[in-house]
Every structure is written in structure tokens, then in C-alpha cells.
């Protein structure tokens, strides 16, 4: 029978807890000892959204002693169709803070640990190691694989649930002698094939169904009762209200949990899922023209460097907002090259970086060697350097 590791010395229940959990105490499958196991248990909820909402609520209600919450997101109106732990008043607020408030209102005995971060290969082992059960309520493939691998490496069971439109899956991975997520899906789908909830839509009630199944499995693992979904994949079809069960086998050749594992530490999961790293900065060179960021321009101007800022916008634009550049509208540049000193470093600037790039290329072709383009233009300057500069 699959169980989660709980300490040998179980905490006592207070008088308040004895009354609060009376309906558990009178159940033979729970009893006082079971309730004390719940109090001693530490569960990590990865994600406090669709799945995380019912999951965290029911674990808190059941008397789980410590709930860790991982989420870096902020409540948005479109979440409220299903993320019932958050309310309209929470829009704009950090999900972690909103969730903590509701969970403690439901059960003040609960100890909440907030992990205000995105789970990554750099921090996952460190965060997960202090918990007994991990409940995965995330919404993307790289994190699914990350949580799975971390659970296998640490020996922690993973109460898994996932949803798409009106179908859900649930299982318990990484239990002792049980399969892991990679036994079921050795490889992720190519990016873009399976849309997220934002792209594909989701029936609001669905994470409610599946999240409570995850909570149920978590509680069974802590108490060591019933038959958890180890080696079983539960398929939920909400539209037809059909529940089907498929057998999951542990793959002896699984790279993470098999007999001869080849994955013995966390990898780059974005790369594994075929997701190219997000370009944090503009490319350094575009068509042979070096790109300068607005931050770099400010730094060099403040340092007193002799830069010639060539503003190639129209006069009416210059009237609205400018950063003190010399105005030569783009159409006039070829006739006014004598006003642009070849020996100085020229920073070409426009509204957002497009026109200036073309003029920079033209200048280079005309023999100018010290030309750079101001990436993002005056809009980037207004966003990042000086908000008093008007955007238009």
C-alpha cells in the first residue's frame, strides 16, 4: 500500500481541532491517529490556479498541517471562471497572498509556506525536499516533467492531475515501485500541438473535479488507506460524465525511475520540450547594424560621451516628445548628409526603432562606420528610462 513518509512522533490535537475534525475522528479509516498524521503532513501545491484552488482548499479543510504553495502569478479576471480560491476583490493581487488569506480563514491551524517563484531546475530539489507529498497543479509540459523528475529523484509521491477543455487525467506518480510520468509519456508533444487553457479553453468545473481527486489521493497517501491511483490512469470525460481507468505500468527502461536511470539530475526542461529560450534582449546586430539599448544610451550620455543622436522622425512627432536629438526627418537624410559628422558616433533614433534601423543601414552604405540603431526608439525610452516622455 502506498503511503507518504510521516514522522514517528505525531503531534497532539488541540481541543479545538478535536471538535473541528469530529467527522474525521468518527470514521474508522481516519480516527484520531489519522487526523494526527494529517496534522504532521506537509504537502506542496505547485500552482494555486484551477487545480490548485480546490486542492488547497480541501487539504486545508481536512487538517493537513503544512501547505506549501508555489505560484508567481497575479489574479486576473479570466481566472475567476474556475480558480475559486480567488475573488473579484483579489484581481491584480498575487495569487499566493490571496490563497493564503482564504486558506487561513477556512482553517487558522494551517501553516502556509509561500514560495513566490517559478519552479526551475535550479530550485526544485531544494523546495520539494521539505514536503511529504507533491500535488502538481501546473499548466505546462516543462514543469510537469520537472516536478516528475524531482519527485523521483527525491522519492516523493506526486499526486498528478491535468485538464484540457472538458477532459482530465489523474494518477499518482513516483510512489514506491510505481510508475512515473515519463513511464507514461517518455516525450512531450511538440510545442504548439496541445494548447494551454488560455488557447484551448476549459470548462470551469473541470479543474474542480480533478483537483478534488488529487486532494483525495493526497489524503489517502498520508493516511495510508484505500487504494491510491498508483499504476492507474483515471480518465475523466466531463461532457459524457464517463470515468475510465487505464493500467499504467512502470517502464523498466524509464530514464528516470527505471532499473538503469540515465537522468540522475534535473535537466533543461524547456529544451526537452522544444521551447526556444525567450530572447531577453534585442539581438546585438541587425543587418550588420549594432543595436544600442535605451539603458546603454542613458548610461553613456550621463557619462558625458560625445554621441550624435540623429532623430529621423517628422517635426510633429518631435513636438510631442523628444530626447534632445538632432531632427532630420528620414526623407531628408540623403540630402543633408553634410549635417551628419562621419567622425562622431551616430545613434539613429525614431519612434520604435524601425525607421531608424533603415536609416542606419543607409548611412552605413554611404560610408559611415560608426552608426548604431537605438532599439525600441523613444517608446522604449519612455517605458524604461523616463516616464515623463510622452508616448503617442
Amino acid at each position: 500500500m502506498a503511503t507518504a513518509a510521516v514522522p514517528l512522533e505525531l503531534p497532539q490535537l488541540t481541543q479545538d481541532e478535536l471538535s473541528r475534525y469530529s467527522r474525521h475522528l468518527i470514521l474508522p479509516e481516519v480516527g484520531e491517529e489519522g487526523q494526527r498524521k494529517l496534522k504532521a503532513a506537509r504537502v506542496l501545491c505547485v500552482g494555486t490556479g484551477g487545480l490548485g484552488s480546490p486542492l488547497a482548499f480541501y487539504l486545508a479543510a481536512a487538517g493537513v498541517g503544512t501547505l506549501g504553495l508555489v505560484d508567481f502569478d497575479v489574479v486576473d479576471a479570466s481566472n475567476l471562471q474556475r480558480q475559486i480560491i480567488h475573488t473579484t476583490a483579489d484581481i491584480g493581487r498575487k495569487k499566493l497572498d490571496s490563497a493564503e488569506e482564504k486558506l487561513k480563514a477556512l482553517n487558522p491551524n494551517l501553516h502556509v509556506v509561500k514560495h513566490d517563484t517559478m519552479l526551475s531546475s535550479a530550485n526544485a530539489l531544494d523546495i520539494l525536499k521539505d514536503y511529504d507529498v507533491i500535488a502538481d497543479g501546473t499548466d505546462n509540459f516543462p514543469t510537469r516533467y520537472l516536478v516528475n523528475d524531482a519527485c523521483v529523484l527525491l522519492g516523493k509521491p506526486n499526486a498528478y492531475g491535468s485538464i484540457f477543455r472538458f477532459e482530465g487525467q489523474a494518477s499518482v506518480f513516483a510512489a514506491e515501485n510505481g510508475p512515473c510520468y515519463r513511464c507514461l509519456y517518455p516525450e512531450p508533444p511538440p510545442p504548439g500541438l496541445v494548447p494551454s487553457c488560455a488557447e484551448g479553453g476549459v470548462l470551469g468545473i473541470l479543474p474542480g473535479l480533478v483537483g478534488v481527486i488529487q486532494a483525495t489521493e493526497t489524503i489517502k497517501l498520508i493516511l495510508g488507506i484505500g487504494s491510491p491511483l498508483v499504476g492507474r490512469l483515471l480518465l475523466v470525460d466531463a461532457l459524457n460524465m464517463r470515468f475510465r481507468e487505464l493500467k499504467l505500468r512502470k517502464n523498466p527502461e524509464c530514464p528516470v525511475c527505471g532499473d538503469h536511470p540515465t537522468v540522475t539530475s534535473l535537466i533543461d526542461y524547456d529544451q526537452f520540450c522544444g521551447i526556444a529560450p525567450a530572447a531577453k534582449q534585442e539581438p546585438a546586430l541587425k543587418n550588420g547594424i549594432p543595436q544600442m539599448s535605451v539603458t546603454e544610451l542613458k548610461r553613456r550620455r550621463d557619462a558625458g560621451e560625445d554621441l550624435f543622436i540623429l532623430d529621423v522622425r517628422e517635426p510633429f512627432e518631435y513636438q510631442i516628445a523628444n530626447i534632445g536629438g538632432t531632427l532630420i526627418p528620414q526623407g531628408q537624410v540623403p540630402q543633408r548628409l553634410n549635417e551628419i559628422d562621419r567622425n562622431r558616433e551616430i545613434v539613429v533614433q525614431c519612434k520604435s526603432g524601425g525607421r531608424s534601423q533603415r536609416i542606419a543601414e543607409f548611412l552605413r552604405q554611404s560610408g559611415y562606420t560608426k552608426v548604431v540603431n537605438l532599439a525600441g526608439g523613444i517608446l522604449a525610452w519612455a517605458d524604461e528610462i523616463d516616464p515623463t516622455v510622452k508616448k503617442y
Binding site: G47, L51, T138, D139, E167, P186, G200, L246, K247, R249
Partner: protein
Amino acid sequence: MTIFIPTPLRQFAGGKDSVDVVAGTVNAALDELTRNFPDLRRHLFTGEGKLRAFVNVYLNDEDVRYLPQKEATAVSTSDTLSIVPSIAGGR
């Protein structure tokens, strides 16, 4: 036999959630399915004709990968095939 089509693939199967085919083995059933719905082929199989690693096929409740004859396993009219792709939604 009935083949259950999962939600992410229904758009390639004329929107159906299940398709009935007449076939003697798992392979033949999948061939018949992709003959009727050619768009499904590239989502289920690689260029070399192997089942994609993120798609699992179950004969009733058993993963075909673990059956002794795998995709060559014989099927009857009362059997079902389930195509179970990975989904990741949680929020």
C-alpha cells in the same frame, strides 16, 4: 471496434469523440482510422511509421506497448482502443 478519440485530436477526426472501424489487429485498426482521417496520421505516427512517444494507445485498459504482440495483437469487435495523449492544463 470502437476507437476513442481524445479531445486534442478530435479536430482531425471530423470532431468525433469515437470512431468505429472493422479490423483484425491494433495496427490494422489504426491504419483504417488514419485512412479515413489522413490528418490524424502525422499526429499519431512519426515519419518512420512509429507511434509518437507522447501518444499512448490502449487496447481496453492495457497499454499496447506492454502486450506481448504489441501493435500486432489481435482485436475483436467488443474491444476498444483508446488514444491517450499527454495534456498539461492545470490553471
